[in-house]
Symmetry: C2
Subunit: 244 residues, 2 copies
DNA sequence: CGTCGTTTTGACGTATTTCAACTTGAGTGG
DNA sequence: CCACTCAAGTTGAAATACGTCAAAACGACG
């Protein structure tokens, strides 16, 4: 389906062996060191170019997808075209946390960069979960984390100003980038466009631009030309927490 | 804790025996008829008056709570006092879907009416879930439903107008009231104040009032004096779907 | 009868949207 | 190497949806 092709050249033949996020991503189901290589290794891998849809909401799928490399986002479209980005996906993320339990994709996912993703057969994933309480608890914990995140975002969209929303979104991404060691000197590649920030925060691209410019002028963060640089994290946090 | 007391007078001694929502609420973990009485019967019950907090976010709790009678809502408060209502709770709802898996309350819950709620010991709930895949799948399904609902609400708050948000909230409540047979002649008691609708939709009570008045003037719904009456459900749905 | 919580009304302020024009930079092809 | 295109970002002016404030009306309750 789509343009994603299953690859098998030697360098990609067993990507997990050298996967940099093997111990921090979802593949590690909370197991002891050394244990994990036998547990959640994808059955196959796919790749995509930038700006490509790798799955569509409602589409049936025998696999749960896990993002191995690159950036993506999951979103919903209202009948009249308005978009809401539900979350951004970084390497190590399950493409949908619901995937282990349902037979169809629970959202449309589009890439921001070239990506590689793994396919985990749902049936075998489920039988693993059922056979080992630790797996179950790990998955349950992921679900709860997701619910927490969603409920937090609910408060953001419902009750926070534009500048707060943008600051919180960026801050959340920074946290996750740090966990994955993707931040060097508080900077990294940042393929998220203003349009995406707008669709995630419920604002207009134009207004997002104004907010970013304001924070750049005030020496807080600098997002430009596909790069993010965090200059004054504590101020960013103050903005996000609405404490002047 | 709080003003909630464990009651044991005869009429309330085994409320599950005559529980009207025994087969539709969360107590029924998707089992066959006749099976359920041995499964999810609360260990004890509590009651509360209207406008009382029955649990607080972060507070440790050995029990998962389930609402047996009455209305309540779960919410978060930002540091500066702004409130976001996360969901409304009707009879049969688990007070937090996360409850089976975590040792503390994941949100503050306040009642709208007098309520009765049951306490399910988490440890025994967990061992039930672990012992029977069907239980697990039922709980997982609830989590996924919750995530779906939250993601839908995210789109509402991020991308929909005031009138749409209010219409969708009411419509969602109507659906759930219907499921529970709480609607007679498309009307029922409705202890939700404009202030609550505002905190759920991210609007001002005053603006919510304007939207409700508009829908009343147009003969769509009538919310007044603690009562809800649905007059023209199809128009309500048109408003909610933004199809003029 | 007064009190209190809730809703209503009107006038006004503002954060954010909308629209349209312009800049910038990267990519492409001649 | 330059001309072209196209996506992304910027700017400014005008429109509007929603918020704020203050006062009045309303009904429930003691």
């Amino acid at each position: 389906m789509n343009d994603s092709r299953t690859q098998t050249p030697e360098a990609i033949c067993n990507p997990c062996k050298h996967c940099p996020i093997r111990d921090t991503g979802t593949c590690d189901l909370g197991l002891q060191a050394g244990e994990h290589l036998t547990t959640l290794t994808p059955d196959s891998f796919g790749t995509s170019r930038a700006r490509e849809k790798i799955c569509r909401k409602g589409e049936p799928s025998p696999d749960a997808l896990i993002l191995c490399r690159g950036w993506a986002y999951r979103f919903d479209v209202l009948p009249d075209g308005r978009r809401q980005i539900l979350d951004f996906l970084l390497p190590g993320d399950l493409i949908s946390i619901c995937a282990p339990f349902r037979n169809e994709h629970s959202g449309t996912v589009q890439t921001l960069t070239k990506t590689m993703f793994g396919r985990l057969n749902r049936k075998s994933l489920q039988s693993k979960i059922l056979s080992e309480p630790r797996y179950l608890m790990r998955i349950a914990k992921s679900c709860i984390d997701d619910i927490d995140r969603l409920e937090g975002t609910l408060g953001d969209l419902g009750r926070r100003s534009a500048i707060e929303r943008v600051a919180r979104l960026i801050l959340g991404l920074i946290r996750r980038l740090e966990e994955r060691d993707m931040l060097t000197d508080m900077a990294c590649e940042f393929p998220v466009r203003q349009e995406h920030i707008a669709d995630a925060t419920g604002l207009t691209p134009i207004h997002v631009g104004r907010m970013l410019r304001q924070m750049r002028d005030e020496g807080v963060i600098d997002i430009r030309k596909g790069w993010l640089r965090v200059i004054d994290e504590s101020t960013l946090q103050r903005i996000a927490e609405h404490t002047h």
